[in-house]
């Protein structure tokens, strides 16, 4: 057996490993970059999904911005109040109020409720279906197309298509705003988690047109506005909208709504 070869190999590799190890160790010292220790701590606190909902490239990007003072401590829409508090602790400032928001799809016109003008068998993507005549097969030009562009945009698996319309899972939703951006119909809005009632329609058509197209569309009848004790309902373009800051959740509007389009959340 050629023992010299074995011994040479062991010595060479050991030496090489030693040299490289020392070299890396020294260069780690020489090329050490001073980072604010708070930055690492904040990165550890943030959810780590790197969803970009805050507008910065990933969680470490937000952490750097927070330390630099460019972003508020409650800049993470996903982590909400709990994370904001921890970050504020690290930064040594007051967290301030951070209301938990959730996404809400302003359409209730599922397969049974909304009419269809024609059958579509093409590409299953909302942004493509937008270019079809009448903005999709649905009679209503404003309604949810149900091809799930929002579903694929959601990093938290919190939105699903049920009976032809998108439905948000309130508990799983982190209000990152990805679906709001993805929806070509601009149907999704962020509302407070605690909101009691919301108008599940986005149709700006006149009342009679809405009647023809959907069994549960807002016709702009003003009944909700008249019955609201807090003046929280506004109507513009034949469409009711609840101002969640004023709404106290009495439910008078939902009770009076003839189309049952104001839904309890």
């Amino acid at each position: 057996m050629n023992t010299t070869a074995i011994i040479t190999a062991v010595i060479v590799i050991a030496l090489l490993g030693l040299i490289l190890g020392l070299f890396l160790g020294f260069s780690a010292k020489a090329f050490h970059v001073e980072t604010d220790p708070r930055e690492e701590k904040i990165t550890g606190t943030l959810p780590g999904n790197n969803c970009g909902g805050c507008g910065y490239p990933g969680c470490s990007g937000l952490a750097a911005a927070i330390v630099a003072g460019d972003a508020p401590v409650n800049g993470c829409p996903v982590g909400g109040e709990a994370v904001a508090k921890k970050v504020a602790e690290i930064m040594g400032v007051d967290a301030g109020e951070s209301i938990r928001m959730v996404a809400f799809v302003r359409c209730a016109g599922d397969c049974e409720q909304a009419g269809r003008d024609y059958e579509y068998h093409g590409e299953q993507d909302c942004r493509m279906a937008m270019f079809l005549p009448g903005g999709g097969e649905k009679s209503c030009n404003f309604g949810c197309l149900g091809y799930g562009s929002c579903v694929s945009a959601c990093p938290f698996d919190a939105i699903h298509v049920e009976k032809g319309i998108a439905v948000v899972d309130k508990e799983a939703c982190k209000a990152c705003g990805k679906c709001v951006e993805a929806c070509p119909k601009k149907l999704i809005e962020l509302i407070p988690y605690d909101a009691k009632y919301a108008v599940a329609c986005a149709s700006k058509d006149k009342g009679p047109d809405v009647m023809k197209k959907c069994k549960t569309g807002c016709v702009g009848c003003m009944l909700c506005k008249k019955n609201c004790p807090k003046e929280a309902v506004e109507i513009a373009d034949f469409l009711a909208h609840i101002d969640q800051e004023k709404c106290e959740g009495c439910g008078a509007c939902a009770e009076k709504c003839p189309k049952k389009v104001i839904v309890k959340l």
Partner: protein
């Protein structure tokens, strides 16, 4: 034949004809893993070009001036693994300190490539073909460019394929492997080039 035309032949040969992924099947892991989006695939491609070119240079130098003269070339595989791993670590530190902008764009990918077999494969091919340092660097760059081309094409196809109605059994990785196989067949067409 002049050096320049020889280098050109080596470059085209390793970038297209014997493409590192599609005909030698090196570096399949990042090829399949990081090819979901064209943007990240591009980043990976650039990082691979950067690392393989550097690794080719360093390993050729080490082989020519350290291993070969002392008759230690039977240790080349393990020495190259050590040196390349250390090199990538060092490059990462260096970039973080001196070129933060480049680190921002390549940072995520650099550690991923440390143990990529395409890097080691190229270094060993350089030795096998008895290339000198210049030839080794050109070969390394061209091989990595071939990888970048292949991963960008696959990412482009996968971005479009998202809209396709793929049969259930083929969804996910199977259809990607089928696509990669078809790409390999298409790349066979380059074999008449040299």
């Amino acid at each position: 034949m002049s050096t320049l035309s020889e280098l050109l032949i080596i470059a085209i040969g390793s970038a297209l004809v014997s493409n590192v992924v599609l005909s030698q099947f090196y570096g399949l892991c990042p090829f399949l893993g990081v090819s979901k989006q064209l943007k990240t695939a591009g980043g990976m491609g650039v990082a691979v070009i950067f690392v393989i070119t550097l690794a080719s240079l360093v390993s050729a130098l080490i082989y020519q001036f350290l291993l070969a003269p002392f008759g230690l070339d039977y240790l080349k595989t393990i020495v190259f693994i050590l040196v390349i791993a250390a090199l990538v670590q060092f490059v990462e530190m260096f970039l973080k300190k001196n070129v933060p902008s480049l680190y921002q764009s390549l940072g995520v990918y650099l550690p991923l490539i440390t143990t990529n077999c395409a890097v080691l494969g190229t270094a060993l091919t350089n030795v096998q073909e008895e290339y000198n340092v210049l030839y080794a660097v050109v070969n390394g760059f061209a091989t990595a460019a071939g990888f970048a081309i292949a991963i960008c094409i696959l990412a482009g196809i996968r971005e479009k394929m998202r809209y396709n109605n793929v049969p259930k059994a083929f969804q996910g990785m199977p259809i990607v492997l089928v696509t990669a196989g078809l790409m390999a067949i298409a790349f066979c067409g380059f074999s008449g080039l040299l």
